[in-house]
Amino acid sequence: MEKPSVPGQLLKGLALVLVVAAVMYPLLTVIGTSLASQSDVLKQGGLVLWPEHPTLDAYRTVFQGGVVLRALMVSLLITMVGTIASLLATIGMAYGLSRRDVPFSRFILMTALFTMLFNPGIIPNFLLVKELGLYNTFAALVLPVLVSAFNLVVLRAFFMNLPQELYDAAKVDGAGDFRVLLRIVLPLSKAVIAVISLFYAVTYWNAFFNALLYLDDAEKWPLPMVLRTFVLQGRSLDGAVAGEALAPQQSVLMAVLVIAVVPILLVYPFLQRYFTKGVLTGAVKG
């Protein structure tokens, strides 16, 4: 095949640089502004890409306490409890359905898959949550989204592709189904389980609409709800943070945004290389 032309290569390189810049610019300015001091904000307008006098005052203000800190705690709690609950339910179900000779397994699988096609929507779900007495409880953020059919399909496909000999050998040694899951299947599935944990954790961490729908009490709001009131609806931060604000309002807002993104940024690099595998197993089977 012919060598790629020089102008072609340059064009390609330029396109890649533009794409990367478009993704990174908003994130970097938010981080920059969160570190900016009053003089930086005044000098450079609203957003500061590179603060000349970086300071952590905005973060100190947030962590002094108040609404934002409480919302952060709520989000952390929901994310941890929710992810664990979702993982347990998904692993159990995916494993239980990973052998075709289990009675009713096909029927149960279809029951789960059909939910990808038909979604009753807001009002029936809302009425159900009310009837179950979950309204205004944290459980309303977890139970209605406990298992994702997509994650279930991904995990089941992975379990089914493990070498059959492993199961047989374990059976010969007298291991029951549960022991096989704990001792053989799970240790071999760490990577895919890590990716699914990320998917679940991100769902819980970003939970916004279910919180809006099901949580009446502002004291129970997770971080995205609080972000909305301060950043999008422009409510003043007075009273939202304990003590006096040490930093400009703009920086504090951006610090809240950074705090909302950082947990994702922290786990992301470790899991990124497994995405392709995870997404594809699921996508092919739909």
Binding site: M1, E2, P4, K12, A15, L16, V19, V20, V23, P26, T29, G45, G46, L88, G92, M93, Y95, G96, R99, R100, D101, V102, P103, S105, T111, T115, L117, F118, N119, P120, G121, I122, I123, P124, N125, L127, L128, K130, L146, N161, Q164, Y167, K171, G176, D177, F178, V202, F208, F209, M225, L227, R228, L232, A260, V261, I264, L265, L280, A283, G286
Partner: protein, 330 residues
């Protein structure tokens, strides 16, 4: 999911605790349930979840045929037959929400859908593994950022006091705030969606590109096909099945354009441009207490969405493509 079942002996001949069963004797259903009770128990929490949170709510559509009052409940609210349906058909706000939904879905189909494909082709043509991996890590990232954060980011950049109006100002142009312009709303949504998911959308296309036989490219090159012709005659046919699959999935979602994303910005542009079916259901039903009529819209939306996916899938089968669901497949 291929042939795991055939690899596993159907009646499990080898079991340490129990003697092997004589070949050919089938277990009764009850015996199989007893044998696999652990597996079934493990399945139970998930199954209960799907039944309670995805099937029981279907009963809630009763409300569509009632003048529902929360304090009366399902049992005692008066039945009104199809009154809610006719009320919806007479409501101009419903038609406006439907129009907005279709407009936004149409614009996104034309201007969002092709971009992950283009980006994947670009990434695929990058020779250096290191550069490609770096760009991939960067462009997948926004997929994990929630809508509240993304809308906030866009507001900081495009909004009234944001970077872009400042820039226009400094060039002597009038300040323009895209985030509150009703006419620009579908485009703003598309721009945000591109930022969030154009990168993530490349994953499935890249995998399809990887599965194209290298030999085809070499053969085409030997036959004198230059880069553009190879793209047209080898690459594109290779990814058409995946594109069709994605189109089907998209079609099924046509009535549910980015709900959280729009809900967050509806008030900034006003309901005339910012109301879509989902936000209509939310504001009309949950906020204003018009449970009956709002759930009519929800019911229609759910049924049409399902019909669209099934229909598009059938159509793809007829064209000779696999589609999403294959027959005889579990």
């Amino acid at each position: 999911m291929t042939d795991t079942a055939t690899r596993r002996p159907p009646a499990r001949a080898v079991t340490a605790s129990k003697p092997a069963r004589p070949a050919g004797r089938r277990l009764t259903l009850w015996q199989r349930v007893k044998r696999d009770k652990v597996m079934l128990l493990l399945t139970l929490p998930g199954l209960l979840y799907f039944l309670v949170f995805h099937y029981v709510p279907v009963l809630g559509f009763m409300v569509a045929f009632q003048d529902y009052e929360p304090y009366l409940g399902f049992m005692h609210s008066p039945w009104t037959g199809l009154d809610n349906f006719t009320a919806i058909l007479d409501d101009p706000k419903f038609w406006s929400a439907l129009g907005n939904t279709l407009l936004i879905a149409g614009i996104q189909l034309v201007f969002f859908f092709p971009l992950p494909i283009a980006l994947a082709l670009l990434l695929n043509s990058v020779m250096s593994d290191k550069i490609r991996r770096f760009v991939q890590s960067v462009v997948y990232l926004p997929h994990f950022i929630g809508w509240v954060i993304i809308v906030s980011l866009f507001q900081q950049i495009l909004g009234g006091a944001g970077v872009v109006p400042d820039l226009l100002d400094s060039m002597g142009l009038p300040r323009y705030d895209m985030t509150t312009d009703p006419d620009a709303f579908p485009w703003l949504l598309t721009l945000q969606l591109l930022w969030k998911d154009a990168g993530w959308g490349t994953i499935i296309i890249l995998a399809a590109l990887l599965s194209i036989d290298r030999g085809l490219y070499e053969a085409a090159a030997i036959d004198g096909a230059r880069a553009w012709r190879r793209l047209w005659h080898v690459t594109l046919p290779g990814i058409v099945p995946v594109i069709i699959l994605l189109l089907i999935l998209n079609l099924g979602m046509v009535l549910s354009v980015g709900f959280e994303q729009i809900l967050l910005q509806r008030d900034a542009v006003g309901p005339d441009a910012g109301e879509v079916l989902d936000t209509y259901v939310y504001y009309h039903g949950v906020r204003d207490g018009q449970w009956g009529t709002a759930s009519v819209v929800g019911l229609i939306k759910a049924l049409v969405g399902t019909a669209l996916v099934l229909g598009a899938n059938k159509f793809a089968h007829r064209l000779g493509h696999e589609g999403v669901y294959r027959r005889g497949d579990s």
